[in-house]
Symmetry: C3
Amino acid sequence: MGVITITTDFGTKDWFVSVMKAVILNINPEAKVIDITHDIPLGDIKAAAFVIKEAYKYFPQDTIHLVVVDPGVGTERHPIVVKTSRYYFVGPDNGVFSYALSQEKVEEIFVIQNNLLFFSSNSISNTFHGRDIFAPVAAHLSKGLEIHKIGSKLQDYKKINFPLPCVVDNTIMGEVIYCDKFGNVITNISKKDIPSDLLHNCSAVVQIKTKKIKLHKTYQNVKIGNYLAYFGSSGYLEIARNGGSAQKCLKIYKPYKVIVKFKCK
Amino acid sequence: MGVITITTDFGTKDWFVSVMKAVILNINPEAKVIDITHDIPLGDIKAAAFVIKEAYKYFPQDTIHLVVVDPGVGTERHPIVVKTSRYYFVGPDNGVFSYALSQEKVEEIFVIQNNLLFFSSNSISNTFHGRDIFAPVAAHLSKGLEIHKIGSKLQDYKKINFPLPCVVDNTIMGEVIYCDKFGNVITNISKKDIPSDLLHNCSAVVQIKTKKIKLHKTYQNVKIGNYLAYFGSSGYLEIARNGGSAQKCLKIYKPYKVIVKFKCK
Amino acid sequence: MGVITITTDFGTKDWFVSVMKAVILNINPEAKVIDITHDIPLGDIKAAAFVIKEAYKYFPQDTIHLVVVDPGVGTERHPIVVKTSRYYFVGPDNGVFSYALSQEKVEEIFVIQNNLLFFSSNSISNTFHGRDIFAPVAAHLSKGLEIHKIGSKLQDYKKINFPLPCVVDNTIMGEVIYCDKFGNVITNISKKDIPSDLLHNCSAVVQIKTKKIKLHKTYQNVKIGNYLAYFGSSGYLEIARNGGSAQKCLKIYKPYKVIVKFKCK
């Protein structure tokens, strides 16, 4: 079959995404293409890296994850393919895969060089490598292309580090990493970062800006209009407002610090 | 094949919907998944109930309609499967299926209990039953799972009543039930609710708030900028503004009353 | 297989597009349906014509391009099918196909008349021909329907002319034809319109409203916050702002004139 996911910052009002799908369809009519999202904030590599990390692992083995969040298109950044033990990642070497790859066993990295694989082998646009390079390479991979035909090997891919929280006694210091459609403010503090005796035996208060918010087990524990903190479906500590957008109400537009203080009896 | 539709209030900017599709794909790679919409207003069970009622019946027999508009996720509301003579409905038992089911022959209702069907049989999130419960159950059904393996039978599903209009002589009293993307204001008054002699032999004026609007046969009967009322593609009386949004211009943000008065010669 | 693309101004918040897909699925369960976009500005035939022109040619031979941007629905405009040497186009005869068809070898044009092909042969809505006429006809075509069964032949389709730029000595006069999601302002001036000695040996300044902007080779040649002009992935001259929306910043909301002046040493 061949599953290909697509993640971009192209939006859905124009023709760009459909053209990438058309290019794929011409090469592999059997490919199954699934949109992750096309609404990554324009050129926001960190947001894209987080979205891909949250989505990629649910797909079947051998899925090809095609990502075009590429503010450096037309410059000297490499187009790459990364093969891990379970998946392929295709896109620009700008760090966009680094959160996902930190969870994977990376096997091989290739610079995309073989222009026989390109949409049009004699002319590449300076602005739409999604159509000209990444979609056709993903489609060829989904048809079983031998990976070494893509280009030459690369030693490493560009990394941006996922910010790690810091634990000191009963206090965990972290930061905001993403805000979702519901206005939930997702932090970098995961359940695994918290010593288990704190987590199970103590109550906690989360501070963001000057606001202090209690940690709850579920979303339903507070009344409409109130804030709560809880561990969301991705395993990270989230700050939400029942019946509203915590992001908007707390005006969270950058990676603010978050401090969790546990109080044990 | 197995057709699965998905309706949610998750939006399309994050990874949530793609994860549900990934979970389905792992269980049934042959499933054909069609989005109805992911832009149901957050937690708006009535809007979701109306959208599903308008869409579900166009799909082929045995289609599985998966709905995750679930403000009570994490509380004691049941996850259910409803089998009718033609379709399956999978989602929370919060009334979201009631408009559609009122048009169907309901055969069996099950509480989803069999955790072998779940995404991960040993841990269910409190916030994302779309991924953990509903998507995998829909995927198993699309592969021919025997329905009694889902859990125990339920006598009835939670109902919210579709508001019915009231006819008194030459007057029909109804209300607004939905506003679409075009700003068309859809009421609960259908052609079938109106005595046929009124409908065919008399003219009518529709009042909403303090505005009086003439009933027309088609959208084209009025000039740009003017209001009109007409029976839309769903069979319901709609109020529109040629070249604009009736909803915005009339400021319709709740289920306002609508009065239709017929005048016969 | 049968590939069908869909382009509409229906948006994605309601059920309309899903109903068209359901109608297609009932007729041809094997059809592969790809969304071009559903966010064409309401009733904007020129914007739709441009989007289709940019997208259609990337799809495999025999793809059926279904377009429902139809401000005249319910009036006497014809529903048509146009067969070219490579593709089928299905939609209203309101000019929406004319930019694409000007690049194609048109073979035959038919008025859709055979109501046996319709969604419901005895009742057609006045407002939703996408469901009632266009989707079922596209689906039948994708299954191999003989085209003459659609209705009677038409001599010509309605044309709206793509505005052509005007070259006088070292000056090219054109206009804005589309603004994309990034706020890039796309003009009707393509590389092919410019004498090649000018293009390769001279520098150029683009004037829009009172703003003068330098022509660059790639997007990366200017600093964040600055404007640039360049030839985009479609081959047209575009005006952009690095890190922002040229459309918003220059307030481009109609087809403003654009003047390119070349200066040669």
